[in-house]
């Protein structure tokens, strides 16, 4: 039941929406007529992005919260659905590298690994638990996990992040298997390297000109939200379905 989804009129939620890819995704979804709840930890930058969308005529709302905090999950979901209605599109974009400069895995403090897993893996799981039920009862919905090639390749020094993203990829596949036939699609998208603050924190020496623009990547991801089959892992730059 992988029907094409129309963005217009959908309630959407994007985490990590105050900058980088999350911001671009929220803007793109709003531009295409979704009502978007933008989630981020810091109120100031988030409000600026929301105002920017509204100035362009989009429907956007700010929800301040930390996806890595267990107690915040229902508050985030409740505010978002109070503001934009039922969520038909959820994008798990917020994520953390852990301490930078990046460390070897065995130099990573156990607490830092746990914190990365909370934000990148357990947080999205918790939020999906809250949002997926109503999607399934309505027979439609898309949940997107923003992944990374670090989920697949064992890059030294990307340990905590890579482990969390590999876990998230598998979370995505298992959810897709369990939700087959419900109309809820689960996607994992590896956006490739982009000119973002996160990329600069991880690889300060990278030349921004060699990196993709978040807005262009967001446009492609929204196309995937419309029509990619559930369980797919889509990877830049080819944007092919890598199963």
């Amino acid at each position: 039941m992988d029907t094409k989804l129309s963005i217009r009129g959908q309630g959407a939620l994007v985490t990590g929406a105050s900058r980088g890819l999350g911001r671009a995704l929220a803007e793109q979804l709003a531009d295409q007529g979704a009502r978007v709840a933008l989630v981020a930890r810091e109120a100031g930058p988030l409000r600026e992005v929301v105002e920017g969308i509204r100035v362009r005529g989009g429907l956007a709302h700010a929800v301040v919260g930390d996806i890595g905090n267990k107690d915040a999950i229902h508050r985030i979901a409740g505010q978002a659905q109070g503001l934009v209605g039922e969520i038909g599109i959820a994008v798990h974009n917020a994520s953390t590298l852990g301490p930078t400069p990046l460390r070897l895995l065995l130099d990573t403090e156990c607490e830092d690994l746990a914190a990365v897993l909370e934000t990148n893996l357990v947080g999205p799981f918790r939020l999906t638990k809250v949002l997926a039920g109503a999607m399934a009862l309505r027979g439609a919905g898309v949940i997107v996990h923003i992944s990374s090639d670090a989920a697949v390749e064992p890059y030294p020094r990307w340990g905590a992040y890579g482990v969390s993203k590999a876990g998230q990829d598998h979370l995505s596949r298992i959810l897709a298997a369990e939700l087959e036939g419900t109309g809820v699609r689960i996607l994992a998208v590896d956006p490739g390297e982009m000119d973002t603050a996160m990329h600069a924190a991880a690889i300060p020496e990278a030349d921004p000109a060699s990196l993709q623009r978040p807005a262009e990547v967001a446009r492609r991801i929204v196309q995937m939200i419309e029509r990619a089959p559930s369980g797919a892992r889509l990877a830049a730059p080819q944007w092919e379905i890598a199963s």
């Binding site: 929301v50 709302h61 700010a62 929800v63 301040v64 107690d71 999950i73 229902h74 508050r75 979901a77 409740g78 505010q79 659905q81 109070g82 503001l83 209605g85 039922e86 969520i87 638990k129 809250v130 039920g133 109503a134 399934a136 009862l137 309505r138 369990e178 036939g181 419900t182």
Partner: protein, 362 residues
């Protein structure tokens, strides 16, 4: 009569029991809920997860997808008197509608709390850290307008609000404990708790059994205020919204002689209200009707509910679906097996006798 979703009976111990053997009153894990099946047969007991086996392919289960608000908000008057505002309706723009309670928290029974401050139109108060002014009052019921709306007002409510709860539970209920697995918009002042044992296993099991699922949103209000005059008039008018696909699914179920099973009294109230003046209509409305033993449901053929005992108004409602003698028989069975009548406790499935035979005329 009133619906008692969140067990005001435990706020009034003398009303509990009503001559039947007592039920337990403790919470039950949502994975361990037991279900008393009440139909034309002798009442019987099954695990809740057996629900899919009790229904037939072609039946339709209708659920209330309202999420539960953190509807208990702290407030102070201009002269510093503290109070609690319990929202009784969904947040509407910058408007907050609810009931005032005197200072103290949920651990004091509602009827034992000091009277709340008396507010008048035009008064300014602080609620959830936001200044607001009173635009309407009716005794302890008030409507407030906040100077903010949207993002800021929702943030204030979720930052400081807590779920409404009653004195029988001492420790604070976390927000997640009062949500169903399929909750969406935060419209409910108290949890539509009949849906609490509907796990994903049950939802997917129902689908596999050929049972269809549909939703509506019903703004379940408060179940008790501790004020006799107010409680007597409960439930107050409640907002609901029935999507078009749900109306179509009900028509299709009726056409194939499938049964419409409501999960919770809020679903019964919404569907019967929307069919009060002719065919069932999609869209939003306000349910004002009251259901009692003489009511003949037009839409709903069966009901999943918590357990309710004689003397409780909710027990009256159940009699619209099954004769009193059979309900009492079912309660005796439940009591004998140690089932709980807590709102976060065990459950029953009542199938109307007229709806038991495929193709039975109604």
């Amino acid at each position: 009569m009133k619906f008692s979703r969140m067990a005001p009976r435990r706020e009034r111990a003398e009303a509990a029991g009503g001559g039947s053997a007592p039920l337990r009153t403790d919470e039950v894990s949502r994975h361990a809920v037991r279900l008393v099946v009440i139909d034309a047969d002798i009442p019987r007991l099954v695990p809740f997860r057996a629900l899919p086996r009790l229904l037939r392919a072609g039946d339709l289960v209708v659920l209330n997808d309202a999420a539960t608000l953190p509807a208990s908000l702290r407030g102070t008057t201009a002269n510093g008197t503290r109070f609690e505002l319990r929202l009784s309706s969904p947040v509407d723009g910058s408007r907050l509608t609810g009931v005032l309670f005197g200072d103290r928290d949920h651990r004091t029974r509602t009827e034992d709390r000091p009277p709340p401050p008396s507010l008048a139109v035009g008064d300014h108060v602080q609620v959830a850290g936001v200044s607001a002014h009173v635009v309407a009052t009716l005794g302890r019921r008030v409507e407030l307008i906040a100077p903010i709306a949207g993002d800021d007002l929702w943030r204030a409510i979720y930052a400081t609000g807590t779920p409404v709860q009653y004195a029988h539970r001492i420790d604070a209920l976390p927000l997640h404990a009062v949500q169903t697995a399929y909750a969406a918009r935060p419209w409910a002042a108290e949890m539509p708790s009949a849906g609490r044992p509907i796990t994903w296993d049950v939802l997917l099991g129902l689908r596999r059994a050929g049972v269809e699922l549909a939703t509506l949103t019903h703004a379940a209000g408060l179940s008790a205020t501790g004020d006799d005059a107010l409680d007597h008039a409960l439930p107050w008018p409640e907002r609901y919204e029935i999507p078009k696909p749900t109306v179509a699914a009900i028509a299709a179920a009726k056409a194939r002689s499938g049964r419409v099973i409501a999960v919770g009294t809020t679903v019964v109230r919404a569907l019967e209200a929307a069919a009060q003046h002719g065919p069932l209509r999609a869209g939003s409305g306000v349910a004002t009707l009251r259901l009692d033993p003489t009511y003949a449901p037009k839409i709903v053929d069966g009901l999943v509910s918590g357990l309710h005992v004689p003397g409780e108004s909710h027990f009256e409602l159940l009699q619209a679906f099954a004769p009193r003698a059979r309900l009492e028989q079912a309660l005796a069975l439940a009591a004998g097996h140690g089932l709980s009548s807590h709102e976060l406790g065990d459950a029953c499935l009542i199938l109307r006798e007229a709806a038991l035979r495929p193709g039975a005329s109604r």
